[in-house]
């Protein structure tokens, strides 16, 4: 669709026993764009995410991830942590921080692999070589930059679990950004946020897209949240793609309206397939 295609999903199908959670889904996400996957509850959005980040192995399909200047990698064959190393950062629907560790430590852990190499797998670190301390200071600088941006710099030494909900959400995004991803995947980032917080979140996401030049893929079930920040929207219903395109186009797509509002005789917005993780 665009020149700098980051992620291409082709014919993705995921079955759990007899239940088809996603069937034959194809779409792509580009660098420098915010791509949103939306759909009613139970449409299979989180399942798509879990396939992308290696928590599920797709039944059928190819997931090609191409970072500029690197060989394409095929995510459907990789372990979760290798996918993260390839450049996909993610957040979770129910926030997964390291609650007993400090805010700063959360951001330093995100830079684990670089620091591990700098510490020569702990040897240089144990001997106290300056090589490691330089890398550590750099990591702290990066963490400080993100703490500044999400407005938590004065809470750097607090326990992450003590922070208010909205701050935890932003911290989780900052943590994912500290792992220097090429594609940032956000699972319902606005869930549980009030109007102000979700406004600030939109600001942050736009800022990340414009200044970091990375792609953002986000899941949301609330259409109003995504309409004004997304460049590209994919709509799912019952595991199938029903619409794909610019927000203005998607908004007026009769099938999308039907999926969200239902038809006259079958008005049920929360039609959820039983047992389907959302």
């Amino acid at each position: 669709m665009t020149i700098n295609e980051l992620l291409r999903v082709e014919h993705l199908t995921m079955r759990f026993g007899g239940l088809v959670a996603i069937s034959d889904l194809s779409f792509s996400a580009a660098q420098g764009e915010i791509t949103a996957i939306i759909g009613p509850n139970g449409a299979g959005k989180t399942t798509v995410f879990n396939c992308l980040t290696g928590f599920y192995k797709p039944t059928v399909g190819r997931l090609t991830f191409t970072v500029q200047g690197k060989q394409p990698v095929y995510l459907e064959r990789m372990d979760g942590f290798r996918i993260a190393r390839a450049g996909i950062g993610r957040t979770f629907q129910n926030i997964r921080l390291f609650p007993a560790m400090s805010v700063l430590e959360n951001l330093i852990v995100a830079q684990h692999n670089e620091l591990m190499r700098a510490s020569l797998f702990s040897v240089a670190g144990l001997l106290g070589l300056s090589r490691y301390y330089d890398a550590e200071n750099e990591a702290i600088e990066l963490a400080k930059k993100w703490l500044d941006r999400i407005g938590l710099i004065s809470d750097a030494d607090r326990q992450a679990g003590e922070l208010p909900y909205g701050d935890q959400r932003r911290l989780e995004i900052a943590r994912a950004m500290c792992s220097k991803p090429a594609l940032l995947c956000l699972d319902e980032p606005a869930a549980g946020l009030n109007r102000n917080e979700s406004g600030a979140l939109n600001e942050l996401l736009r800022d990340i897209r414009d200044t970091q030049g990375i792609g953002i893929l986000l899941i949301e079930h609330d259409m109003s949240v995504v309409m004004n920040i997304s460049d590209h929207i994919v709509v799912l219903d019952y595991g199938q793609k029903i619409s794909d395109g610019f927000p203005t186009v998607v908004r007026h797509d009769p099938r999308v309206i039907r999926a969200y509002l239902g038809e006259e005789e079958d008005y049920d917005v929360d039609a959820v397939q039983p047992g389907l993780p959302c």
Binding site: G80, R96, F98, M101, I108, H112, G125, R175
Partner: protein
């Protein structure tokens, strides 16, 4: 009035249960007579035990409110904690100085030094297990297996090949670390209770193998004549075949205390090395990854941390320190047998870590001292020793459920403690 009634009702129920239990357990006694066994019915003992339960239950019910109130006023380690935090370095220096000078203090005799050596072995084991349990959050109930592997590695190398203690020490550590990886690999997917059960089984397997593989380990007879550690080749014996012994070289009259004191210093150095190692590695990426893994494994994966390598390194390093302590134990005793490596040892080491407050280095010292010295002090009550020991543990867990000194200090901070301005 109703309060009294409930108290009596509860006590009545408790004593009924006590009666039903005590009837077969206490009520009957078998006596051996010339021709065989005969029963004796001890109704006095039965009545006494039921009355004790009744009265005890009454007292407990009527003082329950008091206990809950008093909990709030029980002393906490808040003061000690703040002292340790404020003068962290100086406090550690004092503890180390006391430990260094301990053998030369007045009133300290051979027995005290020997006991201190035993405490230090457990301190070292506690610090080693702390890597696995406290930092990486992997509940390991079979830690004694690595202690045994280290001990037998040195015992075999020392008796069969006549290798010296210092040469074997790294080998014992390496072999134990290898066993740590061997155990770690199959249990990577397990957590919590399941992991605890498998590690417990592993500990027992090692002990059973050592008991039955007579050709290798001497079976239940154990291995005797294990070489003692030497000070740069100087032995601590009255006479040596060649060269000098310690007292000849320094022109001192021979005394058995020299060896005891020397062993004390060896374990002190080993324990301090363990401590410095753990304190340092905690602040390195691998240490933070262990803690992150304890907090949330899925989030770790999403950040590109390899959970397999991270867990295995925790198992291996924890096991290595267990192995080093084991080699020292074998050398100190001069004799080892599978008897020394039973499950109760694992339980004691784990209790030290949990009581000390997971992740707290100084807490582990306090807990080790308490758990090793308490049974020694209670030797006169030999039969009730474990009972008092258990009671003490229950009380500590009620009073400080997260351990004696449970408090996590961040591995790096942006601000000096207590302030909000940048360094």
């Amino acid at each position: 009035m109703t309060a009294v009634f409930t108290a009596f009702k509860e006590a009545g129920l408790a004593s009924l249960v006590a009666f039903l239990l005590a009837l077969p357990l206490i009520g009957f006694r078998t006596n051996t007579t010339g021709t065989g066994l005969n029963f004796e019915f001890r109704w006095e003992a039965l009545v006494v035990s039921v009355v004790i339960v009744f009265v005890g239950r009454c007292v407990l019910t009527s003082t329950r409110g008091l206990w809950q109130q008093s909990r709030l006023h029980l002393p906490s380690f808040g003061y000690l904690r703040s002292v340790i935090d404020r003068r962290r370095v100086s406090f550690a220096v004092i503890v180390v100085l006391v430990a260094l000078l301990f053998p030369f203090m007045p009133e300290v005799d051979r027995r005290a030094i020997d006991l201190a050596t035993l405490v230090l072995i457990y301190v070292m084991l506690g610090w080693g297990l702390n890597i696995v349990v406290g930092l990486a959050g992997l509940l390991d109930l079979g830690y004694v297996a690595f202690y045994a592997v280290g001990a037998y590695t040195f015992a075999l190398l020392g008796t069969v090949y006549d290798w010296s203690f210092w040469g074997c020490l790294p080998i014992a550590g390496a072999v134990a670390a290898m066993f740590g990886v061997l155990l770690g690999y199959p249990v990577l997917r397990l957590r919590g209770d399941y992991l605890a059960i498998v590690t417990l089984g592993f500990g027992e397997i090692i002990r059973v193998v050592l008991t039955n593989w007579v050709a290798l380990s001497g079976g239940p007879n154990g291995i005797a004549g294990i070489p003692r550690p030497t000070l740069f080749g100087l032995e601590f014996t009255r006479r040596t075949r060649e060269g000098h012994s310690f007292h000849e070289y320094f022109d001192l009259p021979f005394s058995g205390d020299h060896r005891i004191t020397f062993l004390y210093y060896v374990i002190l150095i080993l324990a301090l090395v363990t401590n410095v190692f753990v304190l340092r590695i905690r602040k390195l990426p691998i240490g933070r990854a262990w803690e992150a893994l304890r907090e949330d494994e899925i989030a770790c994966r999403s950040l590109g941390i390899n959970p397999v390598n991270t867990k295995l390194s925790a198992f291996a390093l924890g096991a290595m320190f267990g192995g080093l302590a084991g080699a020292f134990f074998a050398s100190r005793n001069g004799f080892i047998s599978p008897e020394s490596f039973t499950f109760i040892e694992s339980a004691i080491i784990l209790s030290i870590v949990v009581l000390g407050g997971m992740g707290s280095q100084i807490g582990i010292v306090l807990a080790a001292a308490a758990l090793i010295l308490l049974p020694e002090a209670l030797r006169e009550f030999s039969e009730y020793r474990m009972l008092v020991f258990g009671l003490a543990m229950v009380l500590v867990m009620l009073w400080r459920p997260r351990g004696l000194l449970a408090h996590r200090k961040p591995t790096l901070t942006l601000y000096p403690s207590g302030s909000r301005t940048l360094k």
